[in-house]
Symmetry: C2
Subunit: 134 residues, 2 copies
DNA sequence: GTCTTGTAAATCGCGCACGATTAAATCGCA
DNA sequence: TGCGATTTAATCGTGCGCGATTTACAAGAC
């Protein structure tokens, strides 16, 4: 039943994000992508996918929605036309300020100390690595 | 980043189930429902929903797919016609044998001791309860 | 230069999740 | 008894995830 704990808690986490992200007009996966771009702008679809562990079949529509919101641009790389580069717009960069308080709010909602959050995160990440093996 | 750990590990867990569930023709949410029915047959949609933490908007189509596979019947309760009772078919009950090995296989894939699995499950479930508060 | 091989993203179809709404049946209570 | 409030599923629309396939481009062999 570890599986169900993960499954249901992951959903509960997304629910917790909902009220925080609603003012920004973002879903959790969209926030995840924006966060990756705030850390490093001008990345390819593939590079983003390696960070959030998603592939182009999920990313392409997701990125198109963010583009439709005016938060980023999708342009073919002129050097290598197979790749699409994702760049934040002014509005996309501006959103970072409005999202700055979110991580703290989430930690608070967990009711855990920062130390416990880190430990639990590392345990769960280790589990993911183990599952990814086979 | 505890959130991302949960999010990505929950996905990895579903991936791990995929190869085990493919022979039974079930997805993970479908397996979850079947498990609930193997434990207690003849439940209402609402009762199942309280166990798997889903509502009728998700459950109704899910149950219809299981019915289409011939694993269960959906019938209005004659006592209270608002409720729909879910009952396993012969085939639905028979599937339990074929699924009996799955929990053990999953524990093995986690690479954890049974003790660690239990501890981690309880920690994650406690986190879910805390998140559900506010 | 052509041809094969490999790689990056997009497309398609299906199955969840879930907010919002609806329809039907039951309950409560004057 | 009648009638508003509540409960239970179902419906509808949108947004993920992902397996499988397709398209376009690049790189290397000859």
């Amino acid at each position: 039943m570890l599986c169900f704990a993960l499954y249901s808690t992951a959903h509960a986490m997304q629910q917790s994000y909902k009220s925080l992200l609603a003012p920004l007009g973002l879903t959790y996966p969209q926030y995840l992508l924006m966060s990756a771009l705030w850390t490093e702008d001008d990345q390819t679809v593939g590079a983003l996918g390696r960070q959030v562990l998603l592939e182009s079949n999920t990313l392409t529509p997701l990125l198109k929605r963010l583009e439709a919101k005016g938060l980023l641009h999708r342009t073919r790389d002129s050097r290598d036309e197979r790749q699409v580069r994702i760049r934040l717009t002014q509005a996309g960069r501006a959103l970072q300020q409005q999202a700055a308080h979110i991580p703290g709010c989430i930690v608070e909602k967990t009711g855990l100390t920062l130390e416990d959050v880190t430990r639990l995160r590392d345990e769960i990440t280790a589990l993911r690595a183990e599952l990814a093996k086979g």
